[in-house]
Structure formats: structure tokens, C-alpha cells
Symmetry: C2
Subunit: 338 residues, 2 copies
């Protein structure tokens, strides 16, 4: 990367004597966040990036330390009326039911198969773990990835009638590109399943699989037809939520981020740990305030609850995105419709 | 990365009209592996890289899939007469002994403090784990990193009288640079401690902390003086050796490498799993054959044993580096001495 960067600098420098120079520099002076309304939120982001990338600033941060972490559910894509990964689990349980006659008598599978999601979810976290284990384990990792991709290409969100991976936030896509253009390394740090995300996030967000941190189940190396295969086991390995987020970041990245973005109380330890580091730091919350274009929910929501986080954001001067006020569009498909 | 790459291509393309063009292309025709003797080993590496980066070749691999994984001990730096991390553990145990009077009666600490390493190591893997727990846990992660850096700057290898992090292999440094210049992402995948390595490998190899996979102990998030801190616990989390290497690669990288390099039977599952993937794959073993400049050991060694791996390399056509024959120099300091 460093060499490539040097080559790039060299190469761009060489272009300075060509008439095409104007074309290349124009890229840099265009608005990097066109789907964000002007205002304090956008300005705070641009000011922070300008500061940490300015070699003459006391707040300058070396490129290798420009680590930015993003929650996924409710932060890069929607999470209502249910985490999309749960829709996947439900669809897989229905598809696999004939191979699991025992599910007809066993909750929460019994309720899922009857279509009674209220009851299925009434078993709480334990029930959700059961659903994930029943639908995400017992196959090779390659087979699982294929199943997720197949599901994404054939399933649609009940409200928008669009594939789930089109319900990603256009302003956040621009923010990711903007940060990377300024030599940030962008990571996903999500309570969602790490392999579930890896099946689609590279295409959706430009984030490669090794920059995805998430919850995981255990795996083992087995031999199938004379070849080694990673097999998924019905056993929890790591929950990447709440205190698990700093733990996961330390394990996978090995550095404290200088920029962290989330939307729920599950992201609070990540944002606290990030912003407590020395030097310039940026804490960012997405506040779901738009019941027309997306959803409005915060302190009372069972999914993506943002309660303590809102208080801490105010107390610590973190930036809070008011979705209704700050975003010109929410989803990429709105750009095509305009 | 992809954006940067596009910019690079654009920028280099623009330079085609300038008189400086010659200077930029010269970089590419210089020998990328100057410390490697000409021969089948070097040729196999260059041929593989040329093939997978040639868009007109059937073996072309997209940049995002050019994943290369390297074992560390005995593969990127030396590992004799003991894994260097064990020298660290021993030095730390001696330094901390006054705070642990119980160690005077407890093996393997008792033998370490008496200077009887033969006996300390006679307790096998269990004893080594005890030594690591006793010396690597019970402090914050930041404090641990500082201790490792301090140790590296003050300790010297008993045979070479050089800092341990100067006993890295010059030819492998060139290989890492060569691969990265060809858009490979280079990762360390080592049985050594992940945080022990992260303290120095970025400077030594140009590999950032998030591209380091290793064995780990558990951590917890605690509050110290009102701030969140990652604290290291005396409990094993993950052993990144043998079958653990493919498991660790799948967990951290989420893709099967196309290039894997190791030097012991502990690397065998990684090289097998890598080379069993579809499309072009490269398996590389370092064979320690140089008792004069480094060490000579293989099938009978208790450290870095290479026995089954040698047979598998021959059977599968993997490339085996004969250190004595293939490397012009072993360590970077030899270049300065010449």
C-alpha cells in the first residue's frame, strides 16, 4: 500500500506538466458528500477530515492510524421492522423445515413455521440464537456464502419491495468513499454475523472481507472428498456487540479507531473507547428521525434502541445525524427516481 | 484500495505523454528480488506473480483476491535456539519475579528463575502456556505493547548479538514488497502472540496491525480512572497453529489465500487449504539448510519441525526455498557489511 501510494504521488506529480492536470484535480474540489444537506453535521465531518489530513495541523494523524469503524444494522443499512439477518434466518428455517421434523415441536422454530413471529421473538435473545444456529450452521462456509447471495438476489423487503441490499444509506456510502479517499481504512464492526455480511458488503460498501468484524459461530477444518473445508458449527464463538465491539476491534484491527459511527446503545462502548483516545477523535451517531423515508425510533425501540447513547452524545459533543434534517436522500434508488 | 488503484492506472496513463515516462517504467523492469539467487525457486515465484497479474492470462486473479499469508517464526525471522517470544517471556518472568514470590516454588517459573531452561522447557506445551500467561497477561494492552517495544530496543540475540528484530530475512522482505507492488495484500499468520507481533511487525515488514493473525489470550474492557481500557487476561483465546491457521484465516480475512508461505509442519494445513482452492495457487516452504549464516534443521527439530511438510511439498509440487542455495544474503545487516 505504501509503495503504491508513493507511486501514485509520483505519477500524479508527473502529470502536473500535462494539459490533463485540470481534470484530475477537479475530482478533489467537488463536494465529497453531495447527499448531505449543508449544516453543522456535514461541516463537523468535513472539518475533522480536513484537520487530521493536514500535515501542518497539530491534529494531523498518520495515514496508518486513520482507522474508521462503522456499525452496520441501522447505520449503513436499515434494520426495521426486523434485523434483515433475521428475515434470512426465518426464510432458511422455512426452506429447511422438511429436513428437520423436530422443529415442528420445538420453539422458536415451531412459531416461525406457523408464521407467528411475535411468539418466535418472545423467547428473547436465547430464541434468536437458536434461530441463527438452526439456519447458519451445519454447512461449509462456502455453501453458506452461496445461500446468502442466493437469498439476497431473490428476496425483497416487505415495506419497500426492494432487495435488502438496496436499503443501504446513500449518505453513508459517500462518507465511506470520502474517508477512504483521505487514506482512512474503513471497517464494519457489527453485532450481525461476520460471514453473513461478507457475502455482500464488498459489493455494497467497497469494504473487503478482511475489514469486516462481526459476531461469529465456531468453525472447524474437515476433509471432504480429499479436500480441506471450513465447516460451520452450531456453537457461539463471539458476540460483537456492546463491550464486545472494543474487544473485537482490538482483536481484529489492533488499533484504537479515531472515528467511530453507530446508531444504538450497542455501539456506545465502541464510540466511548474511540473518543477517549488521545488526539483528534470523532464520535458519530445516526439518529432515526424520518418516519416517511425510513423509520423514526430511538429510546423505546426494541430494535436499535438509542437511549443512553443520545445522552452521552450530548454530554460528550459527539455528532448526531438527524436523518430527516441532514440527509437529502436516504437510499441510492431515490437518486434514480428523481 | 480499488479507487486508489484506478487513480494510479489513470495517473500512470496520463504520464505516457510526458518525457518522464521512461523513469516510471524503469521501476518495473528492475529485479524485484535482488537478494535471491537465479534459479528454479526465484523463477517459480516470478512466474506465478506474472501469471496472476496478467489480465490476458487464464490465471488472472482480481486484485481483491490476491491474498498472501506468511508464517512468522522461522519464515520471516529466525526462531533458534528458541522462539524469540520465549526469550521475551523469560526476561519478563525474571523482571517480575519480585512481585511473584510464589514463582520460587512453582514450575516452570522456578526453573526459569534458576536459569535452568532445559528443565523449564521439559514441562512441554503446558509449561510454555504457563510462561506466556505469567508474562503476557495482567496488564492493559497498551502497557504490554510498550513492554515489548522496550524489550526489543534493549535485548540482543545470544548468537548474533543483534536486536531480535534485525534477524528478519532480507529475501522475504523483498518478496513482501514485490507481492504488494503487484496488489497482493500480505498477512502474517503465526502461532506467535498476535499482540507481541503487532508491537514491531509494521516497522519490520510493512504489515499493518489489522493484517496480523496470531495466537491470543482473552481480553476484557475495564474502566480505569474513568476511561475504558483493554485488559489482558491469563486465559487462552485462540491457538493459531496447525488446523488453527485456516480457521484463523477464515475468521480474520474471510477469503482463501492464493499464496501461502511457511517453514514447519505447523503451516501444513494452511498451505494445503490454500493450494487446494480453484485457480492458480502457490505453496512455499522455507527449508533451513544454512548452518553457517543461519541454522540447519528440519525433520528432527523440536522447534520448527519440517517433516511431513517436506514430503507433501514434493508430492504436490510446492516450491521449497533452500536457504543456503537460494538466498544471496539472509539478514538485512549483511547488506551493510558487504
Amino acid at each position: 500500500m505504501k509503495n503504491l501510494y508513493t507511486l501514485l504521488i509520483l505519477a500524479i506529480w508527473f502529470t502536473a506538466c500535462t494539459p490533463k492536470h485540470e481534470e484530475t484535480t477537479k475530482i478533489q474540489i467537488q463536494d465529497p458528500l453531495p447527499s448531505w444537506n449543508e449544516g453543522a453535521t456535514k461541516q463537523a465531518i468535513v472539518d475533522f477530515v480536513s484537520e487530521v489530513t493536514n500535515p501542518d495541523s497539530e491534529s494531523f494523524v498518520a495515514p496508518g492510524d486513520r482507522i474508521a469503524t462503522f456499525d452496520n444494522d441501522g447505520n449503513l443499512w436499515s434494520e426495521q421492522p426486523l434485523y434483515f439477518q433475521l428475515f434470512y434466518a426465518i426464510d432458511r428455517i422455512k426452506a429447511e423445515a422438511e429436513n428437520h421434523p423436530e422443529w415442528n415441536e420445538k420453539e422458536p422454530f415451531k412459531s416461525v413455521l406457523k408464521g407467528d413471529m411475535g411468539k418466535a421473538l418472545s423467547y428473547g435473545e436465547h430464541g434468536i440464537v437458536e434461530m441463527v444456529m438452526g439456519s447458519h450452521a451445519g454447512m461449509s462456509n462456502d455453501a453458506f456464502q452461496t445461500q446468502v447471495k442466493d437469498w439476497l438476489s431473490t428476496s425483497k423487503h416487505p415495506r419497500f419491495d426492494k432487495p435488502y441490499n438496496e436499503l443501504i444509506y446513500q449518505p453513508m456510502l459517500e462518507l465511506l468513499v470520502y474517508l477512504r479517499a483521505n487514506d482512512f481504512k474503513t471497517f464494519i464492526v457489527s453485532g450481525g454475523g461476520i460471514e453473513f455480511m461478507r457475502a455482500w458488503v464488498e459489493e455494497a460498501y467497497g469494504i473487503p472481507s478482511d475489514q469486516v468484524i462481526g459476531s461469529s459461530i465456531k468453525t472447524e477444518l474437515v476433509e471432504q472428498d480429499g479436500k480441506l473445508v471450513i465447516q460451520r458449527l452450531p456453537e457461539l464463538d463471539f458476540i460483537d456487540d456492546k463491550e464486545g465491539k472494543p474487544i473485537g476491534i482490538n482483536k481484529f484491527i489492533g488499533k484504537r479507531p479515531i472515528f467511530a459511527s453507530g446508531n444504538s446503545d450497542g455501539d456506545l462502548p465502541m464510540i466511548q473507547w474511540t473518543t477517549q483516545g488521545e488526539g483528534p477523535r470523532f464520535g458519530l451517531y445516526v439518529h432515526h428521525t424520518d418516519s416517511v423515508r425510513e423509520w423514526a425510533y430511538d429510546r423505546e425501540s426494541s430494535i436499535g434502541r438509542l437511549d443512553k447513547g443520545l445522552d452521552e452524545a450530548a454530554a460528550n459533543g459527539w455528532t448526531v445525524i438527524d436523518m430527516q434534517r441532514d440527509w437529502k436522500v436516504v437510499y441510492p434508488f431515490e437518486l434514480k427516481e428523481n
